[in-house]
């Protein structure tokens, strides 16, 4: 269990996935990829494979939100595992609307 913070980067312990926290609630939670808790960017990977229940994969550039829409992660590198918080799978968020001008 960890309390996350906007801007924190984490990586999967069991696949190539990397994420950045976009926003979250100030509470400890269990953020997993492939069913295993995500680790710091300089942490040691486990060398195991994602749990079959959490192996739908992540796509780079996609944003993932929890059911309450309180925590949002940006996938900065895709992998084979899928993301979950406290056992609940995260869902892909809609692409950003385009500006009317830039």
């Amino acid at each position: 269990m960890k309390t996350l913070k906007a801007g924190t980067r984490l990586k999967s312990a069991v696949c190539d996935t990397e994420v950045m926290v976009i926003r979250t609630r100030p509470a400890a939670m269990l953020l997993c990829c492939g069913g295993t808790e995500m680790i710091a960017m300089d942490g040691e990977k486990l060398g195991t494979v994602p749990d079959e229940a959490f192996a739908q994969g992540t796509l780079v550039g996609k944003r993932y939100v929890d059911e309450q829409d309180a925590t949002e992660l940006l996938c900065t590198k895709g992998g084979k595992g899928s993301l979950s918080i406290d056992g609940q799978a995260l869902a892909v968020k809609q692409a950003k609307a385009l500006p009317s001008s830039d």
């Binding site: 913070k5 801007g7 950045m20 976009i22 926003r23 550039g61 385009l98 009317s100 001008s101």
Partner: protein, 464 residues
């Protein structure tokens, strides 16, 4: 200097005359595409300082309360040169584009934008001080603001003042790296490169048809939004192409919510198709539509197409004669393929703000989304050249590459020479009195979104 090897107009003789900077730039572009340039055609020699003033961009550059500023590299003359080149390729057919320079200022005119110093006229881009230099950040999409706390690792950043405070303590390189990870458009204000980068890269990934004798009205499928890509589609339409503009239920062209006259200018005359890309059927329709095209215009990161199950190289290889035009911020290679750019930050990346700082001492954004119209015009030239030559190419342009090419084309060799030129050009512009080109109003309204979906899908025999 020109492109990565392929010269599509090899064997073509193109008549392109004209004295002065715009003519020189036109001939440089044609030569880079492999064409033999024969002296003919007439267009007036205009001082590049006057082209800048006439374009309307001088009024859009400088502090709000200060004087309009000269740009001492000939961007407006370059735009005139590209349009002259397109006209030369049209071989006497009037494409009805009177001025490349005026095209650069046309959005600001329709939107009523004004110069605003270190903020872009459109308002979404700011050039801010970092601990070790200056960085442009462009928060163009409303949702980009939601990424700022993560970018700066600071929850309490909700306005420009707070962003400026946070950035002032950080290193530009680190900020840039994090912005890129988040998919934000950012650029460190850097000196321009003296060696011109290639403005286009053509790769032969498919089969070329015999050059000459091609259908004068190719089918263009335009998947792009905003300014650069749609402008390219508009110019191809003026050259005789039939253009189908494609948008999705999930994401319409944001420019539909901007000034209507500007949207009409870029999109009148194109058929409008809307597809539901959240469904398998919609994605299949998109793949079939793209497979029918002679020219595809696409301005997204390469991974966006891959995630829709479309590979540009495969589309070109599948049928002889196809041209795929890719417009990116910084190129299709890794890691640049993942970086986005909008027109204003691309100008900063190309060194324009550094040039303005060297000549004025001020922190300024150059003109209005300058990367967009310059890239859109160059893109039309590259796509049409590929088509005339028989296609079979992946044609790749980036905002950064095109701007870098324009900046390096006639860049003074030293900071002192740059300042001397700036003084001289400012005097030339000052002597000219008020001058501003008009640009013709759009000929018609753009089609409402999706108005032609059924008709186009039926005609091209595209099924669910």
């Amino acid at each position: 200097m020109a492109n990565a090897g392929i010269a599509p107009l090899d064997g073509f003789r193109v008549a392109a005359g004209g004295q002065g900077t715009a003519g020189d730039y036109a001939r440089l572009l044609l030569a880079s595409l492999g064409a033999q340039v024969s002296p003919a055609g007439i267009f007036d020699h205009e001082h590049p300082a006057l082209a800048w003033k006439r374009s309307g961009l001088m009024d859009l550059t400088g502090r709000a309360e200060g004087p309009p500023r000269m740009c001492p590299v000939p961007l407006a003359a370059c735009a005139d040169g590209v349009i002259a080149t397109l006209a030369a390729l049209a071989e006497g057919f009037d494409i009805g584009i009177p001025s490349g320079a005026a095209l650069l200022g046309v959005r600001a005119r329709h939107a009523g934008l004004r110069r605003n110093g270190a903020a872009s006229p459109g308002g979404s881009c700011r050039l801010l001080r970092t601990a070790d230099g200056e960085l442009a950040i462009n928060l163009a999409r409303p949702d980009d603001w939601a990424l700022v706390p993560a970018w700066l690792e600071c929850d309490a950043t909700t306005d420009w003042e707070q962003i400026a405070t946070a950035i002032a303590r950080a290193s530009g390189t680190k900020l840039l790296e994090r912005a890129r990870l988040l998919g934000l458009a950012a650029a460190v204000s850097d000196v321009p490169t003296v060696e011109a980068p290639p403005w286009v890269r053509l790769s032969a990934v498919g089969t070329r048809l015999p050059a000459g004798g091609r259908d004068p009205a190719p089918l263009v499928v335009d998947l792009s939004s905003l300014w650069a890509g749609p402008l390219c589609g508009h110019l191809l339409h003026r050259l005789g192409a039939r253009v189908v503009k494609v948008e999705s239920h999930q994401r319409e062209d944001g420019a539909r919510n901007g000034p209507p006259a500007f949207f009409d200018l870029l999109n009148a005359g194109k058929a409008s198709v809307r597809l539901d890309l959240a469904t398998l059927a919609g994605r299949s329709q998109l793949r079939q539509l793209v497979a029918r095209a002679d020219i595809v215009i696409e301005a997204s990161r390469p991974r966006a197409m891959r995630q829709l199950g479309i590979c540009a190289e495969e589309v070109v290889a599948a049928r002889p004669g196809v041209t795929w035009l890719s417009i990116t911020g910084h190129g299709r290679e890794e890691p640049q393929a993942g970086w986005i750019a909008f027109g204003d930050d691309a100008g900063v990346a190309a060194g324009l703000s550094r040039i303005l700082h060297d000549t004025t001492g001020e922190r300024l954004i150059c003109a209005d989304a300058i990367g967009d119209p310059l890239t859109g015009t160059h893109a039309a030239l590259a796509a049409w050249a590929s088509y005339l030559a028989g296609g079979g190419h992946l044609v790749a342009l980036s905002l950064a590459g095109v701007l870098g090419h324009c900046v390096a084309f006639d860049l003074p060799a030293s900071a002192e020479a740059l300042r001397e030129r700036n003084d001289e050009w400012t005097r030339v512009a000052g002597c000219a009195g008020a001058c501003r080109s008009t640009y013709p109003a759009p000929a018609a309204r753009a089609r409402p979104i999706g108005a032609d979906t059924q008709a186009v899908l039926a005609e091209l025999d595209i099924r669910c």
